[in-house]
C-alpha cells in the first residue's frame, strides 16, 4: 500500500521534520543537524524506493484527499519527477551529513532555524517537482525561494546583501511565472498540467499561449540562472555558508531546469513550443552563451567558491542546451548531466567548505603544495570531481558530454557541438590551475623544495560524503549505459 502514497510521503517527510527540528532544537540545539540528516535520509530512502517502484510498476498519480483533478490537486510521480526527486534528495542527504562540523563555525547559535529552513526548502523543491498543478507549483516555488533567501542570508557579512538581491530578482522571476500561469488558466480553464497538455494542441495558435510560454520560460529561467538572468547567482553562492551553497548549488537550479523540461517537453510539446517562433533554439543559444560566459568568468576567479559558482552557470547551460535539442540523445545527456553535475558540484562545494574550515579561506591563489600532504583524501576527491568536470572518460562527466554531442550531431547543430567541446577546454583551464597549485611546487614563487607538513585531514563526517560522491562518479561512468537506457525510456516523444 505504501507505494501508492509515496509521492505524498516524500513531501510530508520534510513537512514533518521542518516542525520536529524546531521542537527538539529549542530543547537541545545540537539535535538539529542529526534530525536533518534523519529527515533527508528518510526522504532519500523513499525516493530510491519510489524510483525502483516506478521502474517496476510505472507512474503514480496521487490525488490529495481523493479529489481528482481538476477539482483537487495531484502529485505526479513519473519517470522525470522520480529521477529529479531521487537526485536532489540523495545529494541533500550527503550535504546534511557533511554539515556536522561546519555548523559550529559557519552559523553558530542558528542551528535550529537553519536546519528547519533547509527542510522547508527541500519541501519546496520536492513539491515543485512532484506536483501536477501549475499554481501549486508556484506555491512550492515560493516556499523553496523564501527559505532559500534566508539560508543564503546566513553567511558572511555580504551574504544578506546577496540574498536581498536574489530576493528581488527571484521574486520578479516568480511573478512572471505566475503571470504566465494566469494566462494559461484564462485560456484553458484548468491548472492541471496533464489536462492542459491535452487541450493545448487545440489552443496553441493564440498569442496569449505564446506570451504565457515566454513568461514562464523567462520566469523560471531566472531561477535556473539561464544566461542573461544569472546575475543573482555568483554573489549568493560565494557569500552564503558553505553548507547552504553545497545544498542550493547542486539542487536549486536543477529544479528550475526540471520545470522547463516539464513545460516545454511535456506540457506544450516541442512542436507547439516552436510553432510561432523557434523558441527552443533561442533558449539553446542562450544556454550556449551561458556555457561560455560561465567558463570564462570561472577562469578569472581566484576564490574557489566564486569559481565554482560561475562554473554552475556554465553547467546549467549544458542541461538547458540538451533540453533545447529535444531529441533522445540530447535529453538523455541533459538528464545524465543533472545527475552528474549535482554530484560533482555538491562534492566540490563541500570540499571548499572543508578547506574553509581547516584553512579559514578558499582562495586559490593562496593554495600550495602542502595541501597535498595535509588533506590527501580531500584533494583526491577534488581531483576526481575536477577531472569529471573536465569530462575525461571513464568518469561520469565525460558521458553527459558524449550524449549531448550525439544530440547536437543528430540535429546537425554544429554551433552547439563546438560550444560543448570548447567549454571542456575552458573547464580544464580552471581546474588544472587548482591541481597544479595543490600537487606541485610553485617555482614562480621561488619554491625549491616540496612543502613539509603534518597531515591535518578533515573529519570522517566530511570525508565520507565527499569520498562517496567522488567514487560514485566512477561508478556512474561505468554504469551510465543502464542509466541512459532508463532515461531514453522517459523521453516523451
Amino acid at each position: 500500500m505504501i507505494e501508492s502514497h509515496l509521492p505524498a510521503y516524500i513531501a510530508l517527510t520534510f513537512v514533518l521534520f521542518s516542525v520536529v527540528i524546531p521542537a527538539f532544537g529549542l530543547w537541545r540545539k545540537e539535535l538539529s543537524q542529526p534530525l536533518a540528516v534523519l529527515g533527508s535520509g528518510i526522504a532519500a530512502g523513499f525516493s530510491i524506493y519510489g524510483f525502483i517502484n516506478y521502474l517496476n510498476e510505472g507512474s503514480i498519480r496521487y490525488f490529495f484527499g481523493g479529489w481528482e483533478p481538476p477539482v483537487g490537486i495531484e502529485f505526479v510521480y513519473d519517470g522525470l519527477s522520480g529521477f529529479f526527486v531521487l537526485v536532489i534528495n540523495v545529494v541533500a542527504f550527503f550535504v546534511m551529513i557533511h554539515s556536522h562540523n561546519l555548523q559550529k563555525v559557519e552559523f553558530p547559535g542558528k542551528e535550529m532555524p537553519y536546519y528547519a529552513l533547509a527542510m522547508l526548502m527541500m519541501l519546496g523543491f520536492n513539491g515543485m517537482i512532484l506536483t501536477g498543478d501549475l499554481f501549486n507549483l508556484y506555491v512550492f516555488l515560493e516556499i523553496a525561494s523564501l527559505s532559500g533567501y534566508a539560508l543564503i542570508a546566513i553567511g558572511e557579512k555580504q551574504a544578506p546583501y546577496a540574498a536581498f538581491r536574489y530576493l528581488i530578482i527571484g521574486t520578479a522571476g516568480g511573478t512572471l511565472y505566475l503571470l504566465g500561469v494566469g494566462f494559461m488558466y484564462t485560456i484553458t480553464g484548468t491548472l492541471n498540467i496533464i489536462d492542459m497538455a491535452a487541450m493545448l494542441p487545440m489552443l496553441f495558435e493564440s498569442n496569449a499561449t505564446f506570451a504565457a510560454l515566454i513568461l514562464m520560460i523567462v520566469g523560471i529561467g531566472v531561477k535556473a540562472a539561464l544566461f542573461p538572468m544569472h546575475g543573482w547567482l555568483p554573489d549568493s553562492y560565494t557569500y552564503a555558508a558553505s553548507t547552504s551553497t553545497a545544498l542550493i548549488a547542486p539542487i536549486g537550479t536543477k529544479v528550475a531546469a526540471y520545470i522547463l523540461f516539464r513545460i516545454i517537453l511535456w506540457m506544450f510539446g516541442i512542436e507547439i513550443t516552436d510553432a510561432i517562433a523557434p523558441l527552443s533554439y533561442i533558449v539553446g543559444v542562450l544556454a550556449c552563451i551561458g556555457i561560455l560566459y560561465g567558463s570564462i568568468m570561472a577562469i578569472a576567479q581566484t576564490e574557489m567558491k566564486r569559481m565554482l559558482a560561475y562554473s554552475s552557470i556554465s553547467q546549467i547551460g549544458y542541461i538547458i542546451m540538451g533540453l533545447s535539442l529535444a531529441n533522445p540523445w540530447g535529453f538523455a545527456g541533459a538528464l545524465l548531466h543533472v545527475l552528474n553535475h549535482a554530484i560533482m558540484k555538491a562534492c566540490l562545494f563541500m570540499i571548499s567548505g572543508q578547506l574553509r574550515l581547516k584553512e579559514g579561506h578558499s582562495d586559490i591563489s593562496r593554495f600550495d603544495d602542502s595541501y597535498r600532504i595535509k588533506y590527501p583524501w580531500t584533494m583526491a576527491s577534488f581531483s576526481i570531481a575536477a577531472i569529471s568536470m573536465i569530462g575525461l572518460p571513464p568518469l561520469a562527466g565525460f558521458f553527459s558530454k558524449w550524449y549531448l554531442a550525439l544530440g547536437t550531431i543528430d540535429n546537425s547543430n554544429w554551433l552547439f557541438l563546438g560550444v560543448i567541446l570548447l567549454s571542456s577546454l575552458l573547464n580544464a583551464v580552471y581546474f588544472f590551475r587548482v591541481l597544479e597549485k595543490v600537487y606541485m611546487m610553485n617555482p614562480e614563487k621561488g619554491q625549491k623544495e616540496p612543502a613539509v607538513a603534518e597531515r591535518n585531514e578533515a573529519s570522517a563526517s566530511m570525508l565520507w560524503p565527499t569520498g562517496i560522491l567522488a567514487v560514485s562518479l566512477i561508478v556512474i561512468g561505468f554504469a551510465n549505459a543502464i542509466i541512459v537506457g532508463i532515461l531514453l525510456n522517459i523521453f516523451p516523444m
Binding site: 577531472i387 575525461l392 543528430d410
Partner: protein, 495 residues
C-alpha cells in the same frame, strides 16, 4: 574467435601494481621490485597472445556497455599485439634503467614517478587492445592524464610550462576525437575498428569525409607529432630522461602513430582513403614534417631536444608508410614502429646516462666523452647509424621497405624524401659522434662509465636494434607479423 581474459589482465597488471607501489613508498627497493614484477608479468601475458596473433587470430573481450550499444571492449588483434609486445617489452628495460636514473639523479617524488609510469603502460596496452573508438578514447585520455605527472616531474618552471603545453595539446586532441567519434557513430551506428574501414560503406559527401578526416588527424596527429601540431613534444623533454625514452619515443608517440594506422586502416579503410584523396594530405604533411624536423634538429644544442626533433621526423616515416596505401609501404611503416622504438630508446638512454654521470646536457659539452663512457657511446653510434638508415641496423631495413612501398605505388616523391632525410640524419648525428670520439675532453678524469643498471639496458636495446636489422624475423617473427597485418588491411578492403 577465442574468448580470454589475457588482454584485460595485461592492462590491469600495471594498474593494480600502483597500490603496492604507493604503499611501499618508504622502501625503495621493495617499491621497484613491484615495478619490475609487473613489467615482467605484463610482457609474459602479452607474449602468450603472440602465437595466436601470428596465426591471424584475435582475442576479444566484451566488458560492460559504456553507452547503449557501445561496449567497453578489447580486441587483441595482430596489430594490437604487435604494438603491445614492443611497448611492454621495452618497459622492462626502462624499469631497470629508471631505477639507475632516478637514484643517480636524486629525483624527488620517486613513488609518484613509478606509479605514474605503471599507469601509462596500462593505458598504452589499453590503446593497443581497444576494440572500438570509445574504448580507445578512454585509454587515450588516461595516457594523457598519467603522463602529465611525469612531464612536470621535477616541478621546475620549465617543466610546469611544458606540462601546461602538453595538457593543452592533448586535451584539445581528445576533444577532437570525441567529436570525430560521435560523427562516425552518427553516420554508421558503430564504432568498432574493422579491417577495411567502418566508413567504407558510409558513402559520405566529399567535404564531410574531408572534415571528418581532418578532425581525426587533429585528434591523433598531436600524439604522433605531425607538424604543425608537434609543439608539445620538444617541450616535454623537460621530463626525466627515462620518460622521454619510453613515453616520448615509444609509448605516447607510438600510440599516436598506432592510432593513425587504426584510423587509416580500420576507420576509413584504404579504399576510402584513396578514393577521397585523403592519403595525399597525409603524404604531404608527413613529408613536410620529416624534412623540417630534421632541419630543426640541426639547430639544437641540447642533446634531448635534438633527439626530440629527430623523433618528430621519424614518426612521420611511419605516417608516410601508412599513407602510401601500398601493402609494402604499410609493412614498412609498421616495421618502423618497432625499429624506431629500439633505436630511439637507446639514444635517449644514452642521453640520460650522460646527464646522470657527467651532468651534461648540451652537445657542445660532449667533447671526448667516449673515452670515459665507451659502452654508452658505442650504443649511441649504433642507434644513430640505424636512424640514418645505414645497414645492418633495423632502421635500414624498415626504410628500405618504405622505399619499396612507395615505388610499388609508382611514387618517387616519398623516396626522395627518405633519401634526403637519411642524409640530414647523418648530418645531425655525426657531429655528436665526432665530438665524443675525436675531440679532446676536459674535466673528465674523475668519471667512469655510468651505473650498470643503466648501461646494461642501453647495450641490450642497441644489440636488439642490430639483431632486428640482420634478422627481422629472429624474435617472434616480427617481419612476417607486420606483413600479415598490412595484407589484412588490403585483402579485406578488396570487394
Amino acid at each position: 574467435m577465442d574468448l580470454s581474459l589475457v588482454p584485460l589482465l595485461a592492462i590491469l597488471v600495471s594498474l593494480v601494481v600502483v597500490v603496492p607501489i604507493m604503499l611501499s613508498s618508504a622502501k625503495p627497493n621493495l617499491r621497484e621490485f613491484w615495478t619490475i614484477l609487473a613489467a615482467v608479468i605484463k610482457f609474459g601475458l602479452v607474449l602468450t597472445l603472440l602465437p595466436g596473433a601470428m596465426r591471424g587470430e584475435s582475442v576479444q573481450l566484451h566488458l560492460v556497455d559504456l553507452a547503449p550499444g557501445i561496449p567497453l571492449a578489447l580486441n587483441a588483434d595482430p596489430f594490437g599485439v604487435y604494438f603491445a609486445v614492443i611497448a611492454s617489452g621495452l618497459w622492462i628495460f626502462t624499469s631497470f634503467y629508471s631505477i639507475g636514473y632516478v637514484r643517480g639523479a636524486g629525483e624527488i617524488k620517486q613513488t609518484r614517478y613509478f606509479a605514474s609510469f605503471a599507469v601509462c603502460l596500462s593505458a598504452t596496452i589499453g590503446i593497443a587492445f581497444s576494440a572500438n573508438l570509445i574504448t580507445f578514447l578512454l585509454f587515450y585520455e588516461m595516457l594523457t592524464v598519467a603522463t602529465y605527472p611525469l612531464v612536470i616531474h621535477n616541478e621546475k618552471k620549465e617543466a610546469i610550462d611544458a606540462g601546461r603545453k602538453y595538457i593543452a595539446f592533448t586535451l584539445t586532441a581528445g576533444l577532437l576525437l570525441v567529436a570525430a567519434s560521435a560523427l562516425v557513430y552518427h553516420y554508421t551506428g558503430t564504432l568498432d575498428f574493422t579491417p577495411g574501414g567502418i566508413l567504407s560503406d558510409a558513402d559520405l559527401p566529399h567535404t564531410a569525409m574531408l572534415l571528418l578526416f581532418i578532425l581525426f588527424l587533429g585528434a591523433v596527429g598531436v600524439k604522433a607529432g605531425i607538424m604543425p601540431i608537434h609543439g608539445w613534444l620538444p617541450a616535454a623533454m623537460a621530463a626525466p630522461t627515462p620518460v622521454s625514452a619510453l613515453l616520448h619515443a615509444v609509448a605516447v608517440v607510438k600510440s599516436g602513430v598506432f592510432a593513425i594506422t587504426r584510423v587509416v586502416g580500420y576507420v576509413f579503410g584504404v579504399d576510402v582513403m584513396g578514393d577521397y584523396g585523403l592519403n595525399d594530405i597525409l603524404i604531404v604533411l608527413a613529408g613536410f614534417t620529416i624534412i623540417v624536423a630534421s632541419l630543426i634538429a640541426f639547430a639544437q644544442d641540447n642533446l634531448k631536444r635534438r633527439l626530440a626533433y629527430s623523433t618528430v621526423g621519424h614518426l612521420s616515416y611511419i605516417v608516410l608508410g601508412v599513407a602510401l596505401l601500398t601493402p609494402t609501404g604499410m609493412t614498412g611503416g609498421i616495421m618502423h614502429i618497432a625499429a624506431h622504438a629500439t633505436m630511439k630508446i637507446t639514444l635517449f638512454f644514452c642521453a640520460g646516462a650522460i646527464y646522470v654521470n657527467l651532468h651534461r646536457t648540451e652537445i657542445s659539452n660532449l667533447d671526448g666523452i667516449a673515452k670515459v663512457m665507451p659502452w654508452t657511446m658505442g650504443a649511441f653510434v649504433i642507434g644513430s647509424m640505424g636512424l640514418a638508415g645505414i645497414p645492418p641496423i633495423n632502421g635500414f631495413f624498415s626504410k628500405w621497405t618504405l622505399a619499396l612501398g612507395s615505388l610499388e605505388g609508382d611514387m618517387i616523391f616519398p623516396v626522395i624524401i627518405l633519401v634526403v632525410s637519411g642524409i640530414l640524419n647523418v648530418g645531425y648525428f655525426f657531429p655528436i659522434i665526432y665530438r665524443a670520439y675525436f675531440k679532446p675532453g676536459k674535466g673528465l678524469e674523475k668519471y667512469g662509465e655510468a651505473s650498470p643498471l643503466m648501461v646494461v639496458p642501453i647495450m641490450v636495446t642497441a644489440i636488439l636494434s642490430v639483431l632486428f636489422g640482420l634478422f627481422p624475423n629472429l624474435f617472434f617473427g616480427f617481419y612476417d607479423l607486420a606483413v600479415d597485418i598490412s595484407l589484412s588491411l588490403f585483402n579485406s578492403a578488396a570487394p
